[in-house]
Amino acid sequence: MRAVSFENVCFSYGNEEGAFSLNNINLSVEEGEFVAVLGQNGSGKSTLARLCNGLLTPRSGKITVLGMDACDAANTFEIRKNVGVVFQNPDNQTVASIVEDDVAFGPENIGLPREEIGRRIDFALSAVGMEAYRNATPARLSGGQKQRIAIAGVLAVMPKVLILDESTAMLDPRGRKEVMDVVLRLNKEKKMTVLFITHFMEEALLADRAFVMHRGEIVMRGAPREIFSRADELETYSLSLPAVGQICRKLRQKGFPVAECLQPEELAKEIERCAFRQNI
């Protein structure tokens, strides 16, 4: 089944018809897919995420989430149970002053019995590797830990689709990697559909597919490697290659015969190969 599909979706925040924040969006994400969404500030990524779980409703067009019509308010609750959204700032997502209580918030809202809520907390905290912090105070955790608690809070509802809206933006490289590992594992092991909104190209590289947004439209789509092979086009949308890709490009411009690569290991191998050949 399709996890999420948009058909000719338009959306604007204001009442005037002119400026659309999203303009004629068509997309579909299959269940179990890991999709990255890229785009400069104000390109409409967050708006897209909010449309997926009924926080916003489109001006026109059709949004279907797991077979349910997202524009029908009667489906909103069911959709929110199945589509979890993690936002950017963990401080503005925690409701309780004890980790356990915060993770319990979602399951409480969907009216689960106590024993089941307990199991959900166990599951969610172990999924993000935070079992040891069950009784901690979120305010005293580090940024990465807070964000993992925010993810756990969403996971406890056991959504089929997980949307992360720049959830790694505030984290240091290590915190980013921690969150990324958790998400990748959920995608692989639990077959969770993931929509990963990010400004970090390195993270997008790990996705099955990527969308590039620009001024409310999806302007590029495809496998991340394929998208990153069109560096000039990316540049017109104010995006850049992953750092390694940029280095590669510069080297090639200087006449160094490395193949195009995007990951550090690949580049190291390439350089080794070239250096070896020149020695002979």
Partner: protein
Amino acid sequence: MKDVTFGQYYPVDSFVHKCDPRMKILFLVGYLVAVFLSADFYGLGACAVVLVLCVAFSRVPVRSVLRSIKGVLFLIVFTAILNLFFYQGETTVVIAGVSLQWGIINITVEGIRFMIFVMCRIFMLVMASAILTLTTTPVSLTDGLESLLTPLKWIRVPVHALALIMSIALRMIPALMDEIDRIMNAQRARGADFSHGGPVKRVKAIIPVLIPLLLSALRRAEELGDAMEARCYTGSQTRTRYKKLTFTWRDPVIGLLCAALIAGVVLMNIYLPPIL
């Protein structure tokens, strides 16, 4: 500033800590009633004994309990002076031949006794409330209040929503403290001065901090609202609770103690000769 939390929870494991918050709140109410019913030092004496018992069984250092007096010291001194000067007594105090009476001010023996009585009363009220906040986390306090106020749901008071608002407010305090720090530093970097000048100048310096704080609190509230909705919050009655408050053997014990105290105070009022 991060460690500033509302109330002053003192984390140790004790009999009082383990009591159900609902029972503790009821106990406090009962205790306050007993203190106010006491018409004389006998009753207050009984209340004092119970207070000492509570402190002993809470394992909170006496110093920490006493510290909470600081906040109301002014109130105590103020009421004490009022009572001392204006109590309508009969035997005016005479020191070294000088009668302590000037105009409407009249210091009497009865006045001094009554002043001590009132000070003891306020002291005990504050101590008892302090023990409650020292031994109960803010979260279980709100839970307890919510549970006790449940009957109000019958007259359509949104008890649950109110309790949620309170607990979110509590949880936001450290975040807002951080925010204040951040804004004040930003203002300092632009040359604001918060630590010099008279009171008027200082209050004026605070205003540019309050406005960004308010704006950021509103922005936070909006984001939090979205995040809560995204986590299926609808405010409906079908919501369940993970943490359930349960009474244990301790709760009837302190309940009985409280009832005995009130009964004792009433009996003492009736049968013992007045001192005041």
